[in-house]
Symmetry: C2
Subunit: 323 residues, 2 copies
């Protein structure tokens, strides 16, 4: 019998499926990406199988070298049953028993993980720092995904709803969130909300170099806001600083619940880099008590970038099926 | 060799030491309370030993029947070393190696636990409900202590600072908290803060039947506020409803981090009963998203009252030293 020392991580995104072969030591050996924009449910399933087979071939391996498959997916998921209850991105994906389908197709055990939890697992386990016992992560994109890892495992809570960190209320009776609550962190500091707040400020007559972008493109992105802040635009700088403030406030709350040593900013908006990171750190120091222990917490940018979910999905498989 | 099926729980409070003998099935067999108001460090240590010996005798047992001792204490604590780093109540208690001292005096293994974590352990394990996997608790007193139990164990975090739920920020840039932050839940909804907000409203000229109490007693308590709210006083009702609102908002945040099935209101202010509980439940339903899973969470009053810390301390000992 072979050793099967490799794991497959799948990132089931909105427009692509990424498959990666990861060693037990969490080194990425090969990846393969399949575009799924506009594809139907059956085609997406085929794309997942294809991405896996091609990634394995690219790594110079066969499925016999793979111990298990992990899939990072947006929710809602039934983690225990390995079922995608509903997909925000793939039309017609309801109650898809993906773990079972993967097992039948590939003959390998498979497990699902929430995408932001997977990203947090990736950041925790890849080049793991033995000092870090608890890690929290925000993926800053359309919304804010949250992941918490404690002693190497994702925190799922009683009903699989833990670490929904984007829905911590940072401004009582504040901006309406898509989830139905008001004042969620996601309603201020996600990439989409950051861009939306900038666009609203322009509509209210604020002056900014962003108004040219809005006229030319018809919409703003968080990247526009960060770029113009970097170029010295005052409104863009203010909007980005408000996002940083709310991420810092969120971090105070997360710190007081699970006491992480590291908080990771990930997702597309993390590409803003230090112009986002530094004010988050500054506001955190100002907002959080300075009693014992605060010195130990670090807020950092993702080291895995957009591969965090895929690599973390492989970690989830290793945790579930490894020896 | 005897079976030693009993555990000793100690609640090291501000003015008394409570010792309880608890069976492995979490039944309370006997208690003994020693007053420590105004006592010095050496006398408090003697009081702890006395309370243990008297509780054991009251249960008709000897120390040979006891497997281990757990102590619930306010922090800061070094849980791993079993050291009380500093005591908010006992003059001169700094870096007291209480686990070691108990072990030397009694010949029994001993463990420390944060008092609110111990209370949460007590609520979780006493007449345990097998449906409940994750429980959170607030002890509403001078401040708000927090405890979280996941799969039977207290959540300590990376550096022992987890579950400081009273310091979740519920009102950005809000009331000053003793911890140095602004807008903490504790600054609004603890027993002391509830009374303080009522007194401030009176000073600002609000009319209320509470003004007679303030004149007569020179101060208000949360019990006064609850009593007058129950008697129909509008200001008292408003102040109590605000406390309930902030406890509900806190609960939304706690729910989105650890996904508990049960949140327990404990501490002195929980004696207000339904007049506090019902508005907390009402505000929670209004503040929290109504997506999948919310139906599963219940907010309840403590069932152990002021014995929660003591019984939970015995649970902590059973978890650490039981088989």
């Amino acid at each position: 019998m072979t050793e099967r020392p490799y794991y497959l991580g799948i990132d089931l995104g909105a427009t692509s499926v990424k498959a990666g072969v990861v060693s037990a030591e969490k080194d990425l050996k090969a990846t393969f990406v399949v575009d799924i924009a506009g594809k139907d449910a059956k085609e997406v399933l085929e794309a997942i199988f294809t991405s896996i087979r091609r990634a394995v071939a690219k790594a110079g391996m066969t499925l016999d070298d793979i111990a298990a498959v992990g899939v990072a997916s947006p929710g809602p998921l039934d983690l225990e049953a390995g079922v995608i209850c509903d997909s925000p991105n793939i039309h017609g994906w309801r109650n898809v028993p993906l773990s079972k389908l993967l097992n039948e197709e590939l003959g390998l055990p498979a497990i699902l993980e929430n995408d932001a939890n997977a990203a947090a697992l990736g950041e925790y386990h890849h080049q793991a720092d033995p000092r870090i016992k608890v890690l929290a992560m925000y993926t800053l994109g359309t919304g804010i995904g949250g992941g918490i890892v404690i002693d190497g495992k994702a925190l799922h809570g009683a009903q699989g709803n833990a670490a929904e960190l984007g829905h911590i209320i940072v401004e009582p009776d504040g901006r309406q969130c898509a989830c139905g609550q008001r004042g969620c962190a996601e309603a201020y500091a996600s990439a989409n909300s950051t861009a939306a707040r900038a666009a609203q400020a322009l509509q209210q007559g604020c002056e900014s170099s962003l108004s040219q972008v809005l006229r030319a493109e018809g919409a703003l992105t968080a990247k526009d806001v960060a770029d113009h802040a970097r170029q010295g635009d005052a409104l863009a700088a203010k909007i980005l600083d408000q996002s940083a403030y709310y991420l810092a406030l969120l971090s105070v709350d997360v710190w007081h619940v699970v006491d992480p040593q590291r908080i990771v900013l990930g997702g597309g908006m993390a590409q803003a880099g230090d112009i986002l990171l530094n004010p988050v750190r500054k506001h955190f120091q100002q907002l959080c008590w300075q009693l014992q222990g605060t010195g130990g917490i670090e807020i950092v940018l993702t080291k895995l970038g957009n591969q965090a979910e895929m690599i973390g999905a492989a970690s989830a498989a290793a945790l579930a099926f490894g020896r």
